[in-house]
Structures are given as structure tokens and as C-alpha cells.
């Protein structure tokens, strides 16, 4: 995989770094001004999030700099960590042990291997066909019938969200777009940036103006003000990044709109699962954000849709 690091990539990276510097300064200013216990806790959490962002941007930047293979490895590891968070939270039985071993150590590496060799015909069906049929077969062989359908569905859904959907991010590197050869890394950057900015913007709008809750039983933090403000601002920012993509400004706005909406849906669905299991976060690996899965839930839902829209209209 040879990916060019061109001037546009430098602009993208520079822009993100500038954004981080500005947010760190704002976080610092807020920490000086804030008073009162709840406010201080919010600002502390905000600053922990910003510090974690520096870390995540550094890791992602490093993966991009190594060309395609680094990104495949990075997302493969992310899938692995997300999957372990998901399965930990999901009650399984001893009869699932060997099935889970296959899932973690065969299916996950195989999926990302197929992404690395750009075998679209197989990576797009490995999990929804072969893994989905293999999982119940292996569990049935183990012989435990209690809650069989439920257990199978949980493992399948974990694979779907944490592995299959997320693997569509590095899969962008296998797209062949006329006039955009060798530049797919920017497309990957674009997707991750818009999805994450949408999360941040929904958080900011929600924290400042949020009044009307969308689904209070699922997530008390998701408000209409946050959603509309977040989607609108992230769509605008995404439209403004059209120069790094094969899209026109209007097309870029449309793509960003879809990414932000799918991202919102992903966050909501993953919150519903957490709420059902009685936890607030999937893990504690990323300071201020919770677990890996808490950070990538929106990306998981947005990636396959973005991939297929781009492939259908532009490839």
C-alpha cells in the first residue's frame, strides 16, 4: 500500500493540531475560572478528554504515517479491545468458551488480514455469512442449550459492531476512485474527523444549550439541542473539508450529514445496551472517555454506510 502524504494531508493534520491547541487553551482557561463542585468536575472531565484526544490523534497520525498497513493494525487492535469490552459486559456461559476463542483469535485477525490484502469480495461477507453461521454451530457442538439463541445473537452482534463495522474504516483504503488514486488515506481521515467532531459538537451543544431530552430512558445526555447543533456544525465543517475528498462541497455536506446521523444512532444504540447492563461506560482505558467502545460507537455505525455510499457513487 503506498499512500501519498500530500499538501492536503498536511493541512488536515495541521488543522487537527491547531484545534487541539485551541481546545487545550480553552480547557486551561476554564479550569482557572470555574467555581463550585459540579462545574469543577465537568471541567476536569473535559480536560481529561482533551488530553486523551492528544493521545488518540498521535496514535492515529502514526498509523497514517506508516501507510496503509499501520491503519489496518491500529483498527484491528481497536476492534480487539472493543470486542473484549463488549463480551465482558455480556453474560456468556462456559459453553461459549471455545466459540469465543475462535472469535477473538481467528475471526478478528482474518477479517483484518482480508482488509490488508483488499479482498473486498470476502471481507464484506466473512462475518455476516461465515462467522454468523459458524458461531451457533460451534456453540451447539459444545452442547449447552440454555439461552442458546440469546447467547448466539449477543456474540454475533458483538462481532458485527466491534469488528465488521469498524473494519470498514481501513477498508476505505481499498477504494479505487478515478482521479483520487493513492489518496484514500485522506478519505479515512475525513470519516474519522467528521464522526469525532460530530460527537464533540453534540457534547458541546448539549452541555451549553441542552434542554429537551431525546430518549431520557436511554441517555440523559442526548438532547435535541445537542443533536441539531452537533449535526449542523459537523456537517458544515465536513462540507468545508471537501477539498481533501473526491466530493464537491455539496456532496461533502451530504456525506457529513449521513456520517453525523449514523454516528448519533450508534451512540444511542450503544447507550441502550449499557443502560440495560447497568453500567455507564464500557471500560476505563481512555481517560475521561470511558472505554474504547465508548469512543468509537459512532464511528462503527457511520463507517459501513459511508464506505458503501462512496463506493456506489464515486468508484
Amino acid at each position: 500500500m503506498n499512500l501519498r502524504i500530500d499538501r492536503q494531508t498536511c493541512w488536515l493534520v495541521g488543522g487537527v493540531l491547531a484545534l487541539l491547541v485551541v481546545s487545550s487553551l480553552i480547557g486551561w482557561a476554564l479550569s482557572l475560572r470555574v467555581s463550585g463542585e459540579p462545574g469543577r468536575a465537568t471541567v476536569q472531565n473535559l480536560n481529561a478528554r482533551i488530553r486523551a484526544w492528544w493521545m488518540m490523534v498521535a496514535v492515529f497520525g502514526l498509523a497514517l504515517a506508516t501507510g496503509g498497513i499501520g491503519s489496518v493494525v491500529l483498527f484491528g487492535l481497536t476492534s480487539f479491545l472493543a470486542l473484549r469490552e463488549f463480551i465482558t459486559l455480556t453474560p456468556t456461559r462456559p459453553g461459549d468458551h471455545r466459540t469465543l476463542f475462535w472469535v477473538f483469535f481467528v475471526i478478528v485477525p482474518l477479517q483484518y488480514y482480508l482488509i490488508a490484502v483488499k479482498w473486498y469480495g470476502l471481507y464484506s461477507i466473512l462475518i455476516p455469512i461465515y462467522a454468523f453461521l459458524f458461531i451457533p454451530i460451534r456453540s451447539a457442538v459444545a452442547g449447552d442449550c440454555a439461552n442458546f439463541l440469546e447467547r448466539t445473537a449477543k456474540i454475533q452482534w458483538a462481532l458485527m459492531v466491534c469488528v465488521y463495522c469498524l473494519s470498514y474504516v481501513p477498508a476505505l483504503l481499498s477504494l479505487q476512485i478515478a482521479g483520487y488514486e493513492g489518496q484514500d488515506a485522506k478519505l479515512m481521515f475525513y470519516l474519522v474527523l467528521v464522526a469525532q467532531i460530530s460527537d464533540v459538537m453534540q457534547y458541546v451543544w448539549g452541555k451549553t444549550l441542552g434542554r429537551h431530552k431525546i430518549a431520557p430512558t436511554v441517555s440523559p445526555n442526548k438532547t435535541w439541542e445537542g443533536l441539531i447543533g452537533g449535526v449542523a456544525s459537523a456537517t458544515l465543517i465536513g462540507a468545508g473539508l471537501w477539498w481533501a475528498t473526491p466530493f464537491s462541497p455539496l456532496q461533502s455536506a451530504g456525506m457529513s450529514f449521513v456520517i453525523t446521523l449514523m454516528g448519533f444512532g450508534g451512540g444511542l444504540v450503544m447507550s441502550a445496551i449499557k443502560r440495560d447492563r447497568g453500567v455507564k461506560d464500557y471500560g476505563s482505558l481512555i481517560q475521561g472517555h470511558g472505554g474504547v467502545l465508548d469512543r468509537i460507537d459512532s464511528l462503527c455505525f457511520a463507517a459501513p454506510v459511508f464506505f458503501h455510499l462512496t463506493s456506489y457513487y464515486f468508484e
Partner: protein, 200 residues
Amino acid sequence: MMKSLFVAVARFVCGVRARWVGCTPDARQRVYFANHTSNLDALVVWASLPPFVRDLTRPVAARDYWIKNRLRRYLAHDVFNAVLIERRRPTARDNPLTDMLGALGDRHSLIIFPEGGRHDGGGLAPFKGGLFHLAKDRPDVEFVPVLIENMNRILPKGEFLPVPLLGGVSFGAPLKLETGEVKAAFLARAEKAVGSLQPS
């Protein structure tokens, strides 16, 4: 070197998160007593201690299991510095209690599993009396309840390949034998202390 490698592997495979609920890491002499569901239990409790405590802490383990082959012997002696005890046929000469008291000495701490064997799922098995006798002989030592979670899912009984889920190790408030406290009462209190570490 091998030690830190093992700790790193154990922490990665078992995703161990240590929660210090009732006490903080300390080099003072302690007996950590935990529930037992998996062969990895001793390793994860030991690995979740900070290095300055870990160096002083010795897991107590079944001799018959740990001398079976060269790798196990190597791990028990050179990596974990384990105290190997006879669990099948204790005799006056081969008394686990004497071995544990000897291993404690005047600076070491121990990790023990008072349920005796591994128990799958569903609550704790009744604790064996050794814990009480240790507490009686060493009133100066703190007895710290430890709850190990999810290890039976990472490596259930009878399996040999671990699945890398996130395990948890919680450390509770230290117990001491109260004056005049009888064996049954102390053991019941100890069992309750481990059970109550379950996060709601």
C-alpha cells in the same frame, strides 16, 4: 525481567483492573484471601499489586499442580516465588499451616484461596479453617479480602486456552481476629467480606 514480562502478559490477557476499595497498596504484612475460580487467579492477584508490594507477596498454591512439569516448577519458583503446600494428605510434618507461617516470616505477605479448590460460578464455597489458624497465630498481620471477577470466564475449569475478557480484582477493608472470636464466626465474617465486594 521475566517477572515484568509475566506481569505485562497477565495484565493484557486478563485486562486486570485493580480496585482498592477498603485499603491502599502497602508493604506491611498482609494475607490476601480471595475467591477461587480459575488457575489464573493467583497470577492476576499477584500481577495487580504494585511492584513494591508484589516483590514481598507470595501466592500460596497446590504443590501437586505446580510441580507437574518443568514450566510450572519454573514459574512457581523463579517467577512468582510461590509457597507450595500439600493439599491432599497433610501430615504433622507436611502441614500447610506450618509452611504458610514459615513463608510469612517477618516481612512477606501471602495470597491464599481459603475455598480450597476452584469453584465455578454461583457464590463462594465455605472457607477452610486454615485462614482462622493463620489469623490466630499472627494477630499482627492484616487479612485483606479480595474478590476476583470474570476469571472463570477467561479461563474456566477444564479449559487451557484463555479468552481475553476484562477481569477485575477488588481489595476490601482488612480484617483482624477479634479477641475471643471463634472459628466459625471469623470464617463467616471473612466470607461475607469477600462477597460484599461485588459491585452492585
